[in-house]
Symmetry: C2
Subunit: 290 residues, 2 copies
């Protein structure tokens, strides 16, 4: 039995769909069922459901975007930094292996040598480098709370997207933002993320941190070209001249834009599609909510 926390969220509900579709026994534990911040309650739930693997897809992302995390700082720290540590306590006590949905937003740009970031690189967009948003800082602190955590996967997601229109979907965001910033990024198809992260457990690959992004990287303008090719939206896409203009006119806090190296994941034998394949698949199967 798999237990999932945050099963009603954007990523959590994708796990739920994945398990439903494959008939994999799971139980989504909501905040009504247990107080996520009480390890004793988590331990009882783990025992009651004979949980063999737990997934934490709960976190605080800020609505409508990360700017909200600058205002709701305590909630942001609670959901992103404290929660992983509390789950760790429960999983350690019950010897339950588990996986934490973290984020690649703790990096920005590329490494000094121009290469993509590997799991060995320390975060460069966090409180410790004093250049990050409160959101990114809180996610990096959440990983700090998992330092040396036994039997734990840390799966780093980046800019989720899929074929299902949603305010959390990168493609939907590009479709509705009035102006865009053209930057290079690694991104994660939600279904590929869910599949690859769950395979870490089923294939019993070594515990630790994994960049769970589609192979390669893309840019805002490239994704827009694909959107135009497949979706023919009835609008023009206008871009900010540069990041300065974006920060001056549209954002309250800096955004992470970064390229991640997913070769550690692929070296385990887990397959994750190329970014362009994944994007075209999402756009070909696009389900608009309007």
């Amino acid at each position: 039995m798999i237990l999932i926390l945050g099963g009603s969220g954007y990523i959590g509900s994708a796990y739920v769909r994945y398990f439903e579709k494959r008939g994999i026994p799971y139980r989504s534990l909501s905040r009504r069922d247990v107080n996520y911040y009480e390890p004793e309650q988590l331990i009882s739930a783990i025992d009651a459901h004979q949980c063999e693997f737990l997934i934490n897809a709960a976190g605080y992302t800020g609505k409508p975007n990360v700017d909200a995390c600058e205002i709701h700082r305590a909630e942001c720290l609670l959901g992103n930094s404290v929660l992983p540590g509390m789950i760790r306590i429960a999983c350690e006590k019950t010897k339950t292996p588990w996986g934490h949905v973290s984020s690649g937003c703790i990096y920005t740009g590329t490494r000094a040598d121009g290469c993509a970031f590997t799991e060995m690189d320390p975060p460069n967009f966090c409180f410790r480098t004093n250049n990050s948003s409160f959101y990114s800082g809180s996610k990096a602190l959440g990983e700090d709370c998992l330092a040396d955590s036994p039997q734990t996967y840390i799966w780093r997601l980046r800019i989720p997207f899929s074929h299902i229109d949603s305010p959390r979907n990168y493609i939907s965001k590009l479709l509705c933002y009035s102006r865009l910033l053209d930057v290079a990024n690694s991104i994660s198809h939600v279904d590929d993320f869910v599949h690859a992260s769950y395979e870490c457990w089923t294939k019993r690959v070594p515990f630790g941190i994994y960049h769970v992004t589609n192979t390669g990287h893309t840019s805002t303008s490239e994704v827009v070209s694909l959107i135009q090719k497949y979706l023919h939206p009835d609008r023009d896409f206008r871009f900010f001249e540069n990041e300065d203009e974006f920060m001056r006119t549209a954002a309250k806090t800096p955004r992470s834009n970064c390229i991640l190296d997913n070769s550690k994941l692929r070296a385990t034998g887990i397959d994750i599609p190329d970014i362009h394949t994944a994007l075209e698949r999402a756009l070909r199967n696009w389900q608009s909510s309007t």
Copy 2:
């Protein structure tokens, strides 16, 4: 009616004694009474007790010392970073003025110009400067969660001591540590801290941050000399050669040692004794627990 959170702790119990002695109406709200992390429960308590001022003396300090905060990271963030933010939510909603017991341990050394730190100086021993203990980082993040909080005092305490022997008392610590590190510090007599911080409210001085330390500063060797003069302990005091030796042999995480300028507090008309007067008073009235 004053409400106090953390009233059973080292600083909280000093507030309780202070209020008891003066017949000031107060209520100590324990964690059994309310879940400190549920603003709705705090709001109900504030309303039920017709609270006119709230004091947060709750926090996570680590036992036996701050090294424990490196291991219990999530609890440390919960108690020191998230809690102030949750109390802020409750106090803002109920328009309740309040004071938060923070710490001067978010600084180290002196300023570049050799002067003591004022409340205008940004912390230099925290996550953002990536040189701090997890404890100091968590206290600084707690203040981040109080940025622009209305009707809020932030009282920075430093190395508490008093005439009552206690594992949390600086004098008691010096009496029992096998070796000491000779460093300069501002320190706070617990009773002076309680009196001066409460006077911020009774005198209605402007809300904001205050360094609530005794005037001046001292050094470990100076305090040891005073201990020898007044208490005649049956032991020698040995010192580490330098901070490197201390870090190598006795500590897991760096300590804050710093000198704070308390002139903002004194400029309000609130009196706080000179550090040497306060130390001699504590030592003359020393109550050993053994």
